[in-house]
C-alpha cells in the first residue's frame, strides 16, 4: 500500500492544474482574510468573531476547489487514458481508490489546516497591531466552526473522488460540484419545503448539511455534529458507489 500511496502522490503532484487549484484554494481565503483584517483591524466592530466569519466564509471556495482537485485527479485519468496503465499496474482497483482517497484527504487537510492556522494567527496579529482584541475563546462555537472547515475539506475530497469515479468526465464532475451545492440544493430544498410544507427537509440537503459543520451560525436543522455525520455518510456512500462502479465497468 505504501508503494501505491507513493505512486498516487507522484501523480497528484505532477499535474500543473492540481497545483494551480491548490494554490487558489490556499491563497483565496488567506488573502481575503488578511486584507480584511488589515483594513478593518482598527474598526471598533472588528472582533475575533468577524475574523472567524471571514475565514469560514472564504473557506467554502477552498473546499469546493479541493473537491474539484479530487474529481479531476480521477476524471483526468479516464480522459487521458492513464487509468489503463494504472489498473494494469494494480489490477485490484479498490486498492487504487483507497490510495487515491488517502492522498487526497491528506492534501485537503494540508490545505485547510494551513488556511485555518495561518488565517487565524496572521489575521489576529494584524488586527491586534491595529488595536483590536482577538481571543478565539470569546467566539461561541468558533473552534468548532474552524475545525468544521477542516473536516469538511477532507469530506469534500472524498465526495469529489466518488463523483469522479462515477461520471468519469472532468467537465461533468466540475459542473456537478459547483451547481449542486450552489443551485440545485436551493431549488430542490425550496421545492421539497413547498411540497411537504416543512422547512426542515431543506436542511438535509447533503452539501447544506456539510456546510452546517463549518459555519458560525448553523442553519435551522440538525446540529453541527449530526449534520457532519450525515454528510460523512453521504461522502462514504458516494465513494462506495464509485468504487463499485469502477470495479464493475470496463476501464
Amino acid at each position: 500500500m505504501i508503494d501505491l500511496l507513493r505512486s498516487e502522490q507522484i501523480k497528484l503532484r505532477t499535474v500543473v492544474m492540481h497545483w494551480v487549484l491548490a494554490v487558489i484554494a490556499l491563497a483565496f481565503p488567506l488573502v481575503i482574510t488578511l486584507l480584511t483584517s488589515f483594513f478593518n483591524g482598527d474598526d471598533d466592530g472588528w472582533s475575533a468573531r468577524s475574523l472567524v466569519e471571514v475565514l469560514t466564509g472564504t473557506s467554502f471556495l477552498s473546499v469546493l476547489l479541493i473537491a474539484v482537485i479530487a474529481a479531476a485527479s480521477v476524471t483526468g485519468e479516464f480522459g487521458f487514458g492513464t487509468i489503463r496503465p494504472t489498473f494494469t499496474a494494480t489490477p485490484r482497483r479498490s486498492r487504487v481508490v483507497i490510495a487515491k482517497a488517502i492522498v487526497l484527504v491528506v492534501l485537503a487537510l494540508e490545505i485547510q489546516i494551513t488556511v485555518v492556522v495561518v488565517g487565524w494567527f496572521a489575521g489576529s496579529a494584524i488586527a491586534e497591531g491595529r488595536g483590536a482584541t482577538m481571543n478565539l475563546s470569546t467566539v461561541e462555537a468558533g473552534t468548532n466552526a474552524l475545525g468544521g472547515t477542516v473536516i469538511l475539506a477532507a469530506l469534500m475530497a472524498v465526495v469529489g473522488l466518488g463523483l469522479g469515479l462515477l461520471v468519469r468526465s472532468t467537465p461533468a464532475a466540475v459542473a456537478a460540484l459547483i451547481l449542486w451545492p450552489l443551485l440545485v440544493e436551493n431549488l430542490l430544498g425550496g421545492l421539497l419545503s413547498l411540497i411537504f410544507d416543512s422547512s426542515g427537509l431543506a436542511a438535509w440537503m447533503p452539501f447544506r448539511a456539510g456546510f452546517t459543520m463549518a459555519t458560525l451560525d448553523p442553519f435551522d436543522g440538525p446540529s453541527r455534529l449530526v449534520a457532519g455525520l450525515y454528510f460523512a455518510g453521504v461522502a462514504a456512500a458516494l465513494l462506495a458507489v464509485g468504487t463499485w462502479s469502477v470495479n464493475r465497468r470496463d476501464a
Binding site: D3, L4, R6, S7, E8, I10, K11, T14, V15, V16, M17, G76, F80, G81, T82, R84, P85, T86, F87, T88, A89, T90, P91, R92, R248, R249, D250, A251
Partner: protein, 309 residues
C-alpha cells in the same frame, strides 16, 4: 506462457470477441493478426482484465492477471502509447508507474536510457512525437523486466531506425525465453520477427500456427520462367495443365505445375531457360486470403473519382 480460454466480449449488440482461445509459448515472438475491427485490441484489454470479459479467462504462467501481486514484474503491456498525461514529463510518467510496483527510481533512468529518451525525459509528453511516445510506452513495459510482453501495434509512428530497434528488442526478449505477443498491421514486419501466429477475424480464431506453416498452407505458389523462347513453351505448358500469366516478352508465371515439370517440358521442346524459380506468396498474401471473409471494412478499388460509366 499465456493461455487464453473461451474469451468473449460483447458491447451492446456487437460481439467483439467470440469464444476465442489460443496459447502463446515462451521463447518466440508470436504475431497477433486480424483485420481492422477483428477484436485484437479488445482481446488484449480482456487478457489484462481492463475490459471485463463476458466469458472465459486468461492465465499467465497459470495465474489470472488479477492474482499477480506486482504485475509489472510479470507482464509488461503497451496497449496504446497515448495513455499518458500530456502535462507530465516522460520521467514522471515512469516514476508513478514504477512506484506503484515498488520498482526503484534508478530503474526509471535505466529504461529511459535503453529506449533512447534520456535527453527528452524531463520534457512534457505533449512535446513528444508519436515515435517518442511509443518509446516511452516501451520503457514502461521494460520497467519490471517482465517474463511476458504484450504490445499492440508497437511500430506505429516509428521511423525505420525505430522499427528496426523494436524488431531487435522483441527478438532479444524472446531469445531470453520470455513470452512475446505483438499485434501489428505491418505484415512484412511480423514476417521478419514472428515465429508463431495467431490470426483472428470477427472475434474468432481463424488459425494458430507457425509463420512458415501459415504461409506454406495459404500463400499461392507458382513457377517463374525466363526464356528467349517463351512462345515455344506456352503450348506444351498449357497442354500439361499449367495456367500461364505473361509477365513480359521473356517471362512467364506458371501455376499448377512444379518447377521440375516445367524444366522437363522445356528440355523436351528444346527451349533455352535463363531462369526457372519456384515462387511463394508473402505472409500478406496468405493473410489477405485467409481473412477475406472476415474483413469488416472493405475498401474500394483505386480509380478515377466519380466512377467511369
Amino acid at each position: 506462457m499465456i493461455d487464453v480460454v473461451d474469451l468473449s466480449k460483447r458491447f451492446g449488440s456487437t460481439t467483439a470477441v467470440d469464444h476465442l482461445g489460443f496459447q502463446v509459448r515462451p521463447g518466440v515472438v508470436t504475431g497477433f493478426l486480424g483485420p481492422n475491427g477483428s477484436g485484437k485490441s479488445t482481446t488484449m484489454r480482456c487478457m489484462l482484465e481492463l475490459d471485463r470479459p463476458d466469458t472465459g479467462s486468461t492465465s499467465f504462467g497459470g495465474r489470472r492477471y488479477r492474482d499477480l501481486d506486482r504485475p509489472l514484474h510479470e507482464v509488461g503491456a503497451l496497449l496504446d502509447a497515448g495513455y499518458v498525461h500530456p502535462g507530465r514529463s516522460g520521467r514522471n510518467h515512469l516514476r508513478w508507474l514504477a512506484a506503484s510496483n515498488g520498482i526503484a527510481r534508478s530503474r526509471v533512468d535505466e529504461v529511459l536510457e535503453l529506449v533512447g529518451l534520456s535527453t527528452a525525459a524531463g520534457q512534457r509528453v505533449r512535446t513528444y512525437s508519436l515515435g517518442m511516445r511509443q518509446r516511452l510506452g516501451l520503457a514502461g513495459v521494460l520497467l519490471g523486466e517482465p517474463e511476458t510482453v504484450i504490445l499492440d501495434e508497437p511500430a506505429n509512428g516509428l521511423d525505420p531506425e525505430g522499427i528496426r530497434w523494436i524488431r531487435d528488442m522483441l527478438s532479444w526478449l524472446a531469445s531470453q525465453g520470455r513470452t512475446v505477443l505483438v499485434s501489428s498491421h505491418q505484415l512484412s514486419e511480423i514476417a521478419l520477427i514472428a515465429d508463431d501466429l495467431v490470426v483472428i477475424g470477427r472475434g474468432r480464431l481463424i488459425e494458430q500456427s507457425t509463420v512458415t506453416e501459415f504461409v506454406a498452407r495459404h500463400a499461392e505458389r507458382w513457377v517463374r520462367v525466363k526464356s528467349p523462347g517463351v512462345a515455344d513453351l506456352q503450348a506444351p505448358v498449357a497442354a500439361a495443365g499449367g495456367a500461364i500469366t505473361s509477365v513480359d516478352d521473356t517471362t512467364l508465371d506458371i501455376r499448377n505445375l512444379d518447377a521440375a515439370t516445367v524444366g522437363e517440358l522445356a528440355a523436351r521442346h528444346g527451349v533455352v531457360l535463363h531462369e526457372l524459380s519456384p515462387q511463394t506468396g508473402s505472409l500478406e498474401d496468405a493473410f489477405l486470403k485467409v481473412t477475406a471473409d472476415s474483413v469488416e471494412f472493405h475498401s474500394g478499388q483505386p480509380g478515377p473519382a466519380g466512377g467511369a460509366a
